[in-house]
Amino acid sequence: MELMQVDTFLWTTLGAFLTLCTFSFLYKDNPFYKFAEHAVVGVSAGYFAIILWHTGLQPKLFNQLRDGDWFFLWLNASGAHYIIPAILGIMMWTRFSQKLSWVSRWPIAMYMGIAAGLAVPQEMKARVIEQMYSAMYNTLGWGSFFGTGFYDSTSGLSQIIIFIGTLSALFYFFFSKEHTGFFKGVSRFGLWILMIGFGASFGYTVMGRISLFVQRIQFLGDWTRVVWDDRAGALYMLFWVLTFGIFAVMAIYEIVSFARRKQATS
């Protein structure tokens, strides 16, 4: 086998072990999963904090005020106006105090205002208007009304189905109108369209999800190959690891909990 650094081997093994721990959740919640879960929560939180500090606060704030002097309160810095968000940020920290915590509403309010104001025209353009535009299908582009068969999604028929379907699905979303009579029929059809669409995208996603699992199998396979070089041996090992490894984890867990219960009763 190609010689491998010991530390690399250990890190990979840790990864493989945690992978199996996480898979054990499929059987039931157990100490192995709890371990993996809590470890990843802590580590990822720390990782994220560091990333934000180095790639967020550094360029966005510190570098703006870098050329300022603290005894001028950085007002002489080139990006002095970045004092404002800094102050707002510190206002957030007033939540640590009971009396002052109302101050933190100011930055929150500004945050909300900016977010909401940003969304109004953006979403109106990106979602409503652009979809309207593409719903007004260029009927001159119809090859023929029936196209090359029922499965031809460019035929005029299909385009009309899309159009009707869109409208009736929109009808389903009316809130201030009781679904009765004609309205009921239309919105019912709309609901059918929605359901067919949901089924379609559900079925279409399965493939991608399976390949995610296959990638994990490959990861474990590579790990076994670290130990046993020849492919056959590796795959044999892999088979072991996956099936019996998981069973072993579960068995151990059952025994432990059984022992616990014994202790409790006695």
Binding site: G15, H38, R105, A109, F150
Partner: protein
């Protein structure tokens, strides 16, 4: 005072951003990017609150020996280890050397990445169990859901003879016609709902997030 001023901020900044959208001029662009930096910076400061909350909850468990307190120790250790190495052994805080600190990187690549990838891959199983449990031809709607999903899942099955190509073609049609219609309707509706909600915030009708005096 404690609510009026914040509501005023929301109103003013909200309409400022709306108007900005229609002004391509450089000045308005700069203003917008500055305001967006506010969001980022406020968010970073808020992270301190988040970490504090995480630490407090975990520490609480440990102190009062709540069930599973041992694991909270692991959380805390992981958190502080990462911060320790992320600042390159607390040596340099203001140069990004910590980001490629050996321990920092290894911990991420051999703890966070495997677990996250595995959690993600659990979807392969959950999608199967969900299908097994929920795809029952109880009602018309359920049947439609079931059928369109089945057709698409059969689209490349070689052991069906003539049905295979049929599923192949039908699945394409399903994805391009009903699916498209459904998506389009939902997108339009969601867009309107978003705008309505944003208006409610800007006009101060929704103010639960501002708390009480």
């Amino acid at each position: 005072m404690k609510r009026q001023i914040p509501l005023m901020f929301v109103f003013v900044l909200g309409f400022l951003m709306i108007i900005q959208f229609f002004i391509p001029h450089e000045k308005s662009e700069d203003l917008a990017s500055f305001l967006l930096d506010w969001i980022v910076i406020i968010g970073i400061f808020a992270l301190a609150l988040g970490l504090w909350s995480l630490v407090r909850v975990s520490w609480d468990k440990v102190k009062h020996r709540k069930p599973n307190w041992q694991y909270s120790v692991i959380t805390l250790v992981g958190l502080f280890i990462m911060i320790f190495f992320g600042f390159d052994y607390f040596r340099n805080f203001f140069s990004a050397e910590g980001l490629d600190n050996y321990m920092y990187v290894s911990f991420y690549t051999s703890i966070v990445i495997p677990v996250q990838a595995t959690m993600f891959s659990l979807l392969a199983f959950f999608i199967a169990s969900a299908a097994y449990r929920a795809f029952r031809a109880r009602t018309v709607l359920a049947t439609l859901l079931l059928l369109s999903a089945l057709i698409i899942m059969l689209r490349f099955n070689p052991y069906l003879g003539p049905i295979g190509p049929f599923c192949e073609r039908t699945s394409v049609w399903l994805l391009n016609v009903p699916n498209l219609a459904a998506k389009r309707a939902i997108i339009i509706g969601v867009g309107l709902g978003m705008v309505a909600t944003a208006f409610k915030v800007i006009l101060g009708i929704e103010r639960a997030y501002l708390g009480k005096d």
